[in-house]
Amino acid sequence: MFDVNKEGILEVFDFRAKNVLCCSFDATHIIGLINRGAIIWFEDKDKQKVYELEAYPSFKNSINFVVNNRPNLFDYSMVSDINHGVLEKNRPFFVKEHIVTLAGKFNVIKWHLFSHRLFLTDDRTLYSVVPSLDNVRLVIPELFEISFQRYWTLRCPNPLGSLKLTAEWLFIKSGLFRKLFFDKLIVIKC
């Protein structure tokens, strides 16, 4: 239900006392946002999906639904689909920044081939979400080169794990591979 490793992407932002419109239903992210002091909102049409979340009882008192008392603007929206309606220009409310999580190679390649054209280059910041043995280990912006060697390890009690870490390292070292094959975190400014 709650995965401390997956929650890592939230560390790139400051959510304290910020209004966040959740358009994705990942319990780890929802609980992580609440822990970080965010004020969570869901659209009224998503009520049923939220109720069905296994973790719903643990956060039901910490969320709001957008009905009539919605804030004039949201600081962030959390989206897991680049074609989500909240990203459209003619939406009824204003969001300062959209945080889009793109998981899976298919979605990442689709982004590079088509979806990136929907947003101006200056308006978006891309991060690669790099796992290490299936955990989020690094969230690296693609804007500039960062030296991250010292934050990686090839040591693992299991020799197969070490092999996997070596293979992962070869992939993340290459800027091109990192860009093409790893999950993305896209921040779109409005």
């Binding site: 401390v4 969230v139 500039f144």
Partner: protein
């Protein structure tokens, strides 16, 4: 500002480590945070150490702090300077070691005898050297335990000796230098007499008698990786003369 997460759940510690950059991509903060109970406690312990250090050194490491019921986050100022290469070992790092011990003496010699504290991980890797000063970082093993003065300084010396010995045989010039460092610590009142004749074995014993300070990290301490026979041998060569 732009952030970059460098370690989620580093070493299964539950602590996130990230760097915050300005618009020109210069690092300005190092952020440590946690959202589960034990890691939050650990971070709070570190802040206790940082607060102590700020008080005695007039050097403020913390820029801001967020303390929420399920989340704790600290932004440390990014310290500009040079770090020694931990793996280079004693002889290559001798100037860094000397500067580090000067800093140790500056801070610890001013403490009252009954107010002893330890950094707990006074490693060359946790020091940033700049022209004006040596900054001590990573206070996560800070403790107000009754371990006599000199422990942290010895930890640094033997950590670097251990790294040296992994690749080379001990030489007379290394022994002389290490002995001069121990003498210097003693002369500035920063080496308790308990360490005089068996400094390494005494320091090792203090770790083994205070396991709760280091927890699972204990197995990573280089000073404990020195075997009992090697420790005995080193203690006959390097001690207060």
């Amino acid at each position: 500002m732009l952030s970059c997460l460098f370690r989620a759940n580093a070493n299964a510690s539950g602590i996130y480590l990230s760097t915050v950059y300005d618009s020109k991509y210069n690092p300005i903060y190092i952020k440590k945070s946690a959202s589960t109970f034990q890691p939050i406690l650990r971070l709070k312990g570190e802040i206790k150490g940082v607060t102590w250090y700020s008080r005695v050194s007039n050097e403020n490491l913390v820029s801001s702090l967020v303390d929420l019921p399920g989340y704790y986050s600290v932004k440390f100022r990014f310290i500009t300077g040079v770090k020694a290469n931990f793996r280079d070992g004693y002889w290559i790092n001798r100037d860094y070691i000397k500067n580090a011990l000067d800093r140790y003496c500056e801070i610890w010699s001013s403490l009252p005898a009954d107010g002893m504290v330890i950094h707990g991980d006074f490693s060359i890797d946790n020091l940033i050297f700049s022209e004006s000063r040596v900054t001590i970082i990573d206070w996560e093993h800070f403790s107000e335990v009754e371990i006599p003065i000199g422990f942290d300084a010895l930890n640094l010396i033997y950590e670097q000796l251990y790294m040296f010995l992994r690749r080379k045989e001990l030489t007379q010039r290394v022994i002389s230098h290490a002995n001069s460092m121990i003498k210097k610590l003693y002369d500035c009142g920063c080496l308790h007499e308990t360490y005089s004749y068996r400094p390494l074995q005494s320091a090792q014993n203090y770790i083994l008698n205070n396991l709760d300070i280091w927890g699972a990290q204990m197995s990573k301490l280089p000073i404990l990786k020195i075997s009992p026979s090697k420790a005995k041998e080193l203690d006959t060569l390097i001690k207060l003369q």
